[in-house]
Each structure stands twice: as C-alpha cells, then as structure tokens.
Amino acid sequence: MAYLDHAATTPMLEEAIEAYASAARSVGNPSSLHAAGRCARRLVEESRERIAAALSARPSEVIFTSGGTESDNLATKGIFWSRRAASLNRTRVVASAVEHHAVLDAVDWLNTHEGAAINLLPVDDQGRVGVDDLEELITHYQDEIAVISVQWANNEIGTIQPIRDLAHLAAEHGIPFHTDAVQAVGQIPVDFAASGAAALTVTGHKLGGPVGVGALLLGRDVACTPLLHGGGQERDVRSGTLDTAGVAAFAVAVEYAVKSQQEYAARVADLRDELVTRVKTAIPDAILNGAQADRLPGNAHFSFPGCEGDALLLLLDAQGIACSTGSACSAGVAQPSHVLIAMGADDDRARSSLRFTLGHTSTVDDVDALLAALPGAVERARRATAWKTPR
C-alpha cells in the first residue's frame, strides 16, 4: 500500500506506542492521592513539561483534551463566552474562510445559538489570509470582537498562514487570537510564546501520537469558559479523567516531531517536490492548488480537470493508493471543498481535486506507486464524468 494521506492521520511512532503500552500497564488515576495516583500524575506532569518545552509554552498553559476538535471548540466557544461575560457588546467572532470544520462549525454554532456575529476573513487564490483584511475588521469592530481564530496551516491545500503578523495584530488590540496548529506542529517551526497567539490547538495523531489525545495551549491570562464540567482536572477549564497513557505517548510524539522537524521537512519537501514534478509531467493539465512557497512540506494538492475527485480516489484505492479528496463528508458524500471555493475556484475545479500528503514513513516507492497508477486512473475518471449527462 502507498499511504499518501498523512494529513488525515499518520502512523504512530514506535517510541510513542512503547510509551503508551508502558503507561497503560500501570494503574493509577492522576487525581488520586495515593502512591499509584501520584505515579500517574508524575507521568502526566512530565509529559506536560515536555510538550510545553517543545512548543515554547509554560507547562501551566498546556490543557490536555481529546484532540483537535475539542481544542478548537474549547478555544472558540470558551473564549467567546468569557469575553462576552466580561463585556456584553463583545459578540463578534472572526475566523478565516478556510478553517477546518472544527472551527467553522463551532463558530457557526455560536452564530445560530448564541447570536454571535461572524466575519470570515477572505483568502487569496493561494488560500492565504490577508493581514490587511484583519486590520480593517479590527478597525471597524475592535470593541465587539470576542475572539479571532486563524489556522496555522491549511489541512487541505497546505498553505501556511502569516500567523505571527495576525496574532500580533490581534494582541496589540487586546483581542485573544486562537490558532489551529494541528497540521503545523512537527511540519514547520511552531513557537507558542513567540507567535503572539493566546491559544493554540495541537493533536497527537497528526504527528505520530495516538488518536484521542491533544491539547489546547492557553495563555495563563486568557479566560476561557469550560465546555465540559466535572472534576476540573485541567486548570478548571477542562474536566475528565486524564488519559495518562495517551498523554505520555502524545508527549513522546510531540518532542520527537519537533526535534526532528528541520531534517524531516527537508527530506519530505524534496520528496513532495518530486511528486509534484512527476504528476505535472504525467498529467500536464493538472493544477497544483495552494501556495508555491509557504506550504507544508508534505502537502501536494491538485485539481485534475475533467475528473471527479471521488472517482479518482476509488480508482487509486483499488490500486492500493490511499489519498483524500480533502473535503468534508456527509453520509460519505463529497461536498465541493469550502477551501477551494474560498480561493475562487469554481465547483468543477473544487470537485476535481485530490490531496496527497506525505509523512515520516513516506519513501520514493510511494511516489513511484502513485505515478504508476495515476495516468490510467485520470483517463478512466475523465471518461466517467460523462455519466453526469443524463441519457
């Protein structure tokens, strides 16, 4: 199998699996007062410190969650609620138009259930948010904006956002800035303290850790109303028994991914560039979507004119190649990607797109396998587009 869907989830590191298994063999609730509990707590706190160190945060700023979706919901809703409670006219939320659904749908929920006004920041044809656009919004609505959320890098097209500029702009105006860095950590340098962000989402399974554990890095002075109520285990912002084994494995993965990031990015970007070049040679009219420069090293995202992305996916899958249409599914039905639509692509181009993402286990063999199958698949998928015309 050629696995070209690392942005969906990437294989766990052996070290992370070992850390998980080792912790899972020991009993102990980190909140218990006895020796077993203290032992588990020690593991959790050491993990917290390792993650904090890797991402330039204070340990107290690391709030463990169940992953990216929870962290995004906690940041957007929680900060919105706290900010509105402090000042009733803060009812506006700003997010980019190309956010992951974990942010977009949370923000949409704030609109429909909490009466929040929403401003979606537009992107250019490479999927990049303009700092000027945020500046203009802040000028207009400074006192009304409760929270701003812009992803560090896009999950579909891999475009890296000007996070430092955006976050510092928000900070200058005293507005909390959240960034979903799920796709960024381990791929590019991520420094929470230097970024100027008030909150940052990271998750385990995109960087070699387990699924179901992640964190919200939350600045110490940032008020955030909890989503989950209960034991108040995490700074009273997040309740639920701490997942000792998951947290331990997560920390190992974060530490490794950050430590090896530079070397990893150089190797994987070379491989990705080879993939892009060879795809363009094989399918000359293929369009590479996203930014040319500021791009995640493992991401290659194409539109294949005249093809349906899901037909291509089926054909490649049948040849043992795993990739993604990169878009959200409802009942498994591919919707045209909101990211490509926001970039100004039409429906056909959005539906004809396919994402290939490389990761730490990728080799040139994966690229070879893709190129062996792709031209035939594209040809068949093009023929299949004729089915759309009723007889």
Binding site: D310, G332, R383, A384
Partner: protein, 364 residues
Amino acid sequence: MSGGVDSAVAAARAHDAGHDVTGVHLALARNPQTYRTGARGCCTLEDSRDARRAADVIGIPFYVWDMADQFHENVVDDFVAEYAAGRTPNPCLRCNEKIKFAAVLDRAVALGFDAVVTGHHARLGADGLLRRSVDLPKDQSYVLAVLTRAQLDRAVFPLGDSTKAQVRAEAAERGLAVADKPDSHDICFIADGDTKGFLERRLGSAPGDIVDSRTGEKLGTHNGAYSYTIGQRKGLDLRVPAPDGRPRYVLSITPKTNTVTVGSREELSVDTVTASRVIWHDSATPVECEVQLRAHGEVVPASVVVDGEGLTARLHEPARGVAAGQAIVAYRRDPDGDIVLGSATITAGIASAELQTAGGAAHA
C-alpha cells in the same frame, strides 16, 4: 447497496462467485435527513452505515456515490410532472431505468467495472432472458422490464432463484446485521408516506370539479386532480350519493379541464390497453401472452401487438383500474419462471363496444 438485506446478500453472492466487487451506496438527497423515513425507507444516514457495515463483513470496498441531482431530475421531478399530467407514475421503475442502470451503470463502466449487481428479485440467466423471481409475491421483474437489452447485458441479479426468506436466512448465516431489517415499502423520497401531501406541496392547490361519467353532473370538488388515481374509491367525499346507492370510483383524470370523472365499478373495466415508449425483446407480434398492468397486480391473458404506433394489448378478460403512466409488462408463461417479453408505458385503457354494452363507457 441500499443498506437493506437484499443488496447485501446480492453483493456477498457476487463476491463469492469470484467477481471483483465494489459496494456502492447511492446518496439521493443532498441532505440525507430530508429523506429520512424511520425504519421503513432507504437513503438515510443509518442506511448508509448499514450498507457500509455489510460491505465490511463481506470484505469489499465501499463508496457512497452522490446521485442526488440525477435522482431529483429524473425520478422526483418526473414523478411530480406525471401526476400533474393526470398520469400515475412508478418511481421505482424510473429509478431503475434512469439511475441504477443508466447513471450508475455508465459511471461504473467508465471506471472499469463490467456490470451492476443489484438485490432485485428477478432472474436473469445465461439465456439473457429476464424472468420472474421464484418468490412471486416479492418478484420485481415488473419494475425491471423497462431495461433495454444493452442495460440487461450489464445487469446481474443474484437473488432471483431465492425466496426472501432464504435471503434473510443466508444474511443471518453470513453474519450480516441487516438480516432482519424490515422491508421498505414506501416511496423513498416521500418521508412520511403522504403522497397526496407531497404533491400538494409541489403542485399547490388546484380546485376543480368531480363529475359523473354518464350525466356530466358536478358531484363535488377536489383540491387538485393529481391527488386521485384511476380506480380510487376512498376519499372522494361526494355529497350526492349514486342513484343506485353503489360506490363510485375514479374513472379518469383530465388535467386540461382539471376534472376528475367518477362512475360505477363496471365503467372501470377496459379490454384494450394502448402504450408508448416500448421496450420489446425479439419475439414477433401479435403474440398471445399475459400482461401485468400495475406493480404487484394480477396478470391478464392478452394478445399484444407492437408496431410503429406503440403497443396495443387486447385483453381476453376485462381489467379494472388501468392508469395511464403505469407500465404494461408482457410475460410468456414458462416453467422456469415467466419470461418478460417487453414493457411499455400505458397511455390509455379503452372499453370496446361489447364491453360498454355490458355496462361501461369508454374513457381515456
């Protein structure tokens, strides 16, 4: 794979037969919730999950294909337009004709597949003849008879030799969780089963007269002629009783004047059926055969002629409640399962002079 037991077992049998099988579930509504029909229908998210689980158990790849636009255009809109034109459509037949063995088949062939396998209860053997299922109450050859030779050549119906009970038992043996899932009966895109309400929402209220077939007398009013079906007795809500006190039936619907004509049971009888859009397989006509005039309806012996005009069936016994828009399907009796000779869309049921003397009036 609808998520029901039939398509799951059909897929399993095709897989066992050594074919390279891929499961496909059709998404027919952009928002699947809009077609949610509780435990009975299909096309819901739950059905999609059931189909996926069945594919997992069988061990085949599984995909959802978005056919919402095609389905809407060719089946739902057609259904509404047919009622608006005073005819009685069969959406399952239309779905087979335009979606499963057209849009799906075309796409599948283009992608490199050879055939579409479905869980329909009908036989299609090496001789290429479409026959009734061994399970006559579950037989679906009526809604498949619309398929052309080319479509049948790319169709596989693995269940025709089995009864529904056998299919369920086999599903249970195979560990398919859908083994005891209830059958779907309703029109899948009418969530609550209220066809009249569905048509009212689409077509609006259009009041008109209900008139007596013999006297032309106005007996009452209706809110939309599309709500009536030929042969319908209930729900006429007529204030004036028939002179002989006997029940009255819908004889015809005339969209032009928005009139529903009612009369006696005898007047419903016809002995000639004309039909258009003929699909006919090989056999020369006139041919003595049996015709079926509605889904799950009885068969009537008839003499069928196919010519440039269409299809005409002279019925050897009168039939009642023959509605334009339904299919007439001709069968030849055969010990290995009655063979489909052809199919066409009914344009009119006509009573001959003899039959009229016996107590009926001609109606279109």
